[in-house]
């Protein structure tokens, strides 16, 4: 699963076995999940 660091904008892979979530490039601890490039169908209701 690809994440993006909100400070340095680098793409980050998360190691789930390691307990802490942290950007390996800048150390920032807020990462956001990137939107997939596929088409997302939604029912409007």
């Amino acid at each position: 699963m690809g994440y993006k660091c909100t400070r340095c904008k680098q793409k980050v892979e998360i190691d789930y076995e390691y307990t802490g979530i942290r950007c390996p490039y800048c150390g920032h601890r807020i990462l956001v999940k990137e939107r997939p490039t596929t088409i997302k169908p939604i029912k409007a209701e």
């Binding site: 939107r35 169908p41 939604i42 029912k43 409007a44 209701e45």
Partner: protein, 264 residues
């Protein structure tokens, strides 16, 4: 049955329907609200959405935009004889939207595959995009009925009341009824209180004038077989077309009932 048009514009109408029963008047009202099919967005294919709105919220907002409907070109998907309900140009159409911030995305930004089908109002805001935010989508619109979802409801604010009858006898012109009337339609002259004919339909049948009259000179009642109808269209049809389509629906149902009874 008699119809007397009081006001008629593209979006709203007011008319007096007389010499019919309440069940018929209510049938017309219900048909306008629930049984006249309209087009509305049913599915959204999102290519990109970096706006502040969730995808689902965005789809909901899009679905509530009234689309100008051509009843002769499109038919409800469940009743489509061409594709059997799988989706074809006879029962669905696509609209595309592509916008990049900074901008406010409006309903008029939707580009329809059918030039005759557009958003009824071009200035309905969908979402505000800040710099760098982007919205790209394709929306699929279907025909549907107001009884299934509010997004397919063509008639809004449809209602009726009985035509009021106000009679005054042996009035002492005290003026209490005129002071109490919330619609201010009662005039007091030397001969007594009276309601001008052009203001009579404004009466809300609240009967406050009756209650304050000490000598019971004023009586308020209503005609059981005459109704003041007010209705508005959401823009998918003109008010005139909506009334006609609702009448056709009632007529079709009555004919269906006759054909069933004939087979018995």
């Amino acid at each position: 049955m008699e119809v007397d048009i009081l006001e008629l514009s593209d979006r709203s109408a007011k008319f007096v329907l007389s010499k019919v029963g309440m069940a018929f008047a209510n049938g017309i009202r219900r048909a306008m609200v629930a049984d006249v099919p309209t087009l509305a967005i049913e599915y959204v294919n999102l290519y990109d959405n970096t706006s502040v709105l969730y995808d689902e919220q965005l789809a909901l907002r899009l679905s509530l935009i009234p689309l100008v409907t051509d009843l002769e070109t499109y038919m409800p998907q469940a009743e489509c004889t061409v594709c059997g309900g799988e989706g074809c140009p006879a029962c669905e159409l696509s609209l595309t939207l592509s916008s990049e911030g900074p901008a406010v995305v409006h309903s008029g930004d939707l580009i329809s595959s059918d030039p005759l089908v557009q958003a009824a109002d071009a200035n309905i805001p969908i979402v505000e995009l800040k710099k760098g935010q982007k919205l790209v989508l394709e929306a699929i619109a279907h025909m549907g009925y107001g009884r299934d979802s509010v997004k397919w409801q063509a008639g809004i604010a449809c209602g009726y009341k009985n035509v009021p009858i106000v009679s005054v006898e042996n009035c002492d012109a005290c003026g209490h009824c005129a002071a109490e009337c919330p619609k201010s339609i009662i005039l007091v002259e030397e001969s007594g209180a009276m309601v001008p004919e052009e203001d009579l339909l404004k009466c809300s049948l609240c009967r406050l004038c009756e209650k304050v009259c000490d000598i019971n000179a004023i009586k308020v009642s209503f005609d059981e077989n005459a109704f003041v109808f007010t209705m508005e269209s959401d823009g998918s049809y003109t008010a005139r077309d909506l009334i006609l389509n609702a009448s056709d629906v009632v007529k079709g149902k009555a004919e269906g009932l006759i054909s069933i009874l004939d087979q018995l």
